[in-house]
Chain length 156, copies 2
Amino acid sequence: MKIFHWGVIIMMTKEETEKLKQDLKERGYKLTPQRRAILNVIIVNEGKHLSPEEIYDQVKMECPEIGLATVYRTVQLLEKMGILYKMNFDDGVSRYELVHSAEDHQHHHLICLKCGAIEEVEDDLLEVLEERISKKYDFSIENHDVKFYGYCKRCK
Amino acid sequence: MKIFHWGVIIMMTKEETEKLKQDLKERGYKLTPQRRAILNVIIVNEGKHLSPEEIYDQVKMECPEIGLATVYRTVQLLEKMGILYKMNFDDGVSRYELVHSAEDHQHHHLICLKCGAIEEVEDDLLEVLEERISKKYDFSIENHDVKFYGYCKRCK
DNA sequence: ATCTCAATTGAAAAAGGTTATTTTTTATCC
DNA sequence: GGATAAAAAATAACCTTTTTCAATTGAGAT
Ligand SMILES: [Mn+2]
Ligand SMILES: [Mn+2]
Ligand SMILES: [Zn+2]
Ligand SMILES: [Zn+2]
């Protein structure tokens, strides 16, 4: 369902937009069309792990006056707010995805060494390992970043 | 045991040096004093995860004419040869460590969110998870990159 | 020991991604 | 609508990494 607003196609529901506005306001920030458009692009492209430049290209379609610096500033802000997660797939750019649940750990990623495809793994299965590490190393784990490199079904 | 050679303190054994020379030669590369000095710094600083700049600073003590570009070129070469592993701890620089065994997976890292300390975890314990992923996603795993973020014993 | 030639080097410039600065515009609140 | 503080655009600066290029070096052949 598309709702036009300020010349931007909004895929966020009214509730999501309100929630965002609320979150921003609580911290003394404003909800601007640019910020909404940027978050919207990320929501619409869920699972794609976009880079700032890629977000910029998408946002520009609806919002051609926007500057790249604004995209950088906004993803940083959204990360600081716990809405986005910054990733590194060693391809020279940072990439962002939505944080799924404020409580849960982020999912794992399977990265194909041949075609570069990135698949997501929702199973966590690290509880045993984390429990053991916490004890053995006296280290309290807050989150993890787990990447598996190999060959996807099409490339192996 | 230190052996002086070409004005450089060599911590590599004669055998290690020969092995390196052999490996390089097989691929049409040469063993130069710069390359030996760079690898030596990495060996001596095992566990420290040095960046190219940090390697450069160390190497310059023994080899003051060396250029930073040579360090970058050499760590890339050593990585391509499977001797080094390139890491990313999201601190703005790439970091390198020795590959422990050509067969084994690389160890995990515990990264303290407060003091930045990096601890190594030799336990792997991912066999069950990897087995399950291989089957469920039809993905053949070659290696993994596992980081745990949290608070170390001194910071928690 | 000298010669030859490809590989390697250091210095400097360029590239590429990200961040900071400055001025102008905008959102919010009254 | 007007005041005020945040955010935007544009541009420059920044920092790590790569490339370029002329000069040097290493290894094998002569
Ligand atoms: Mn993901
Ligand atoms: Mn390590
Ligand atoms: Zn693939
Ligand atoms: Zn710590």
